[in-house]
Amino acid sequence: MSAPVPLPMDAPELTRQLEAFLHEEITKAGFSRAVVGVSGGLDSAVVLLLAARALGPENVLALRMPHRDSSPESLAHADLVIEKAGCPAETLEVTAPVEAAREVLGIEDPLRRGNLAARVRMIFLYDRAMARRALVVGTSNKTELLLGYSTRWGDGAYDLDPVGDLYKCQVRQLGEHLGVPREVLGKPPSADLWPGQTDEAELGFTYDDADRLLWLVVDRRVPPAEAIEQLGLERDLGRTILERMRRTQFKRALPLVCKVQARTIGIDFRYPRDWGL
């Protein structure tokens, strides 16, 4: 249908860079350990393997946080990944807190329930991070981030993210290099929000299309109309993807602060995050 767009990478070189990033940013902040939520999907598999290489598997806690409606396959895949990484793992059921909160809030909508589950997992991750003096390593890829396809303060909450500048197809390439189990590499991406859910069905387009369009527009600075045409995408589909990126810009920014004084956080209090590190 459309011309292939090269998204070239040198996986071994890139792995060295991402490992160095994790190791340095975590250790210089005074930590030596990390916590990663492992879903059984590709992104968390890649992140867990990278973190295990960067910090040593014994320093990375893999957290499995199933809900009773999670697919049993996800849990099995998470086990494969954890075994491959050689990290200690803990399984914490989120069903009870999610269902309790759901009742209090009167939630039926599956999307709201999905958000609730994502936020309960965030609470669990940060508790384990606090208990172990560890940082939470996130697993959002660039496609997801640009599409705003995540729960605010849920799976979108973490301290640092080694795959946030990699499109989904690039995460897959990296996963192949890192030896992510084939079962995980090959399955359709899913947030596992409800049984049988797939990202692509929910989004209404494929990651391949989104990756290539976003790569051209964001990384190559090709004007949108030209990029859509170059890829042979249906115009409405292309516009839907790009409109989604625009609409979700707030998810990629910290909350707004109203400037009323001379130096305002987020505006002109210009200190680096790695201040004195």
């Binding site: 070239p8 990478m9 040198d10 996986a11 071994p12 070189e13 890139l14 792995t15 060295r16 860079q17 160095a20 990033f21 340095e24 940013e25 210089k28 640092l160 690039q170 130096r263 209090f269 210009r270 200190y271 680096p272 995050r273 790695d274 201040w275 004195g276 590190l277």
Partner: protein, 285 residues
């Protein structure tokens, strides 16, 4: 001339720690037999400074203990290092300082401050306005800082000013997904500086820092060329390294006879044409 390319990671905003590290690395370079050493851009302060600039700046007109310490080490080995200068007018400059024989001998203030994309130097620093050379035991040298080298006129001015050696101090972030040794930074630098060396018939020694600041990874990959633009040796990317390179300074003489580009340079022509171009006002539509 045995050059030590000191590729390492400073701590952001912590001059005292970086000063200790600088002295240690210089002692190691001297111990390993280097004739001179080059340390990266802003090595004494770290790169992504923002509002930290005034806190890490050093006065060069009335040197404090940090500058005196550096000067003292230069009795053992001459070297260049990047730091933030606060001028007597309280302007801040991203500078490369050359220390030799126990004193600060030359200061280059970065002339081209990248302020686009991930770079914000124009918000943090004042622009330098001088491109000058200085004597070293191995011939006249010129210093450039990172983006300076992307303006070929800077290298040409150095050549016309008598430079037979050029040192480039850099803090260049990695891009390019590892491809071709990260071809948006390291490979690009090799292409750029081997070409500048060849155009001007001087060897170029390039030192780039390592480490991460706020997610930016500085790529290392420091290297040196000879006067013909041949790559002599390069350090690895990503990790710190102290690379010793033997740079044959006498090749400059051979190159400039075989390819008398500098002899045939026409500064008066450039000057005349520049004068005309500068006199032209841009027309508004």
């Amino acid at each position: 001339m045995k050059v030590a390319l000191v590729q390492d990671t400073p701590r952001l905003g912590d001059v005292a720690t970086n000063l200790e590290k600088t002295v240690e690395l210089l002692e190691e370079a001297a111990h390993r037999g280097a004739d001179l050493a080059l340390l990266p851009e802003l090595f004494l302060t770290g790169y992504r400074l923002g509002d930290l600039v005034p806190e890490v700046a050093l006065r060069l007109d009335r040197p404090g203990p940090e500058i005196e310490r550096l000067a003292a080490v230069s009795r053992r080995i001459p070297f260049a290092v990047g730091l933030v200068e606060e001028s007597s007018h309280h302007l801040y400059y991203n500078v490369a300082a050359w220390f030799e024989g126990g004193e600060l001998r030359h200061v280059h203030r970065k002339c081209y401050l990248p302020t686009y994309g991930m770079f914000r130097e124009g918000m943090d620093f004042a622009r330098g306005d001088r491109i000058r050379t200085f004597p070293t035991p191995f011939g006249r040298a010129g210093l450039l800082i990172c983006e300076d080298a992307w303006h070929p006129s800077a290298a040409t001015l150095l050549a016309l000013e008598g430079a037979t050696l050029v040192f480039v101090l850099s803090a260049s972030p990695l891009r390019g997904l590892g491809v071709g040794r990260h071809n948006l930074s390291i490979d690009t630098w090799v292409q750029l500086l081997t070409t500048l060396a060849r155009f001007h018939g001087f060897p170029v020694c390039y030192v780039n820092r390592t480490g991460f600041e706020d997610g930016l990874g500085f790529g290392g990959g420091s290297f040196a060329t000879d006067a013909a633009g041949n790559l002599l040796a390069s350090a690895r990317d990503i990790d710190p390294e102290l690379l010793l390179v033997d740079v044959p300074v006498d090749r400059t003489r051979d190159m400039r006879f075989a390819y008398p580009l500098l002899r045939d340079e026409r500064p008066e022509l450039v000057h005349r044409e520049l004068g005309r171009i500068l006199g032209r006002t841009e027309e508004t539509p």
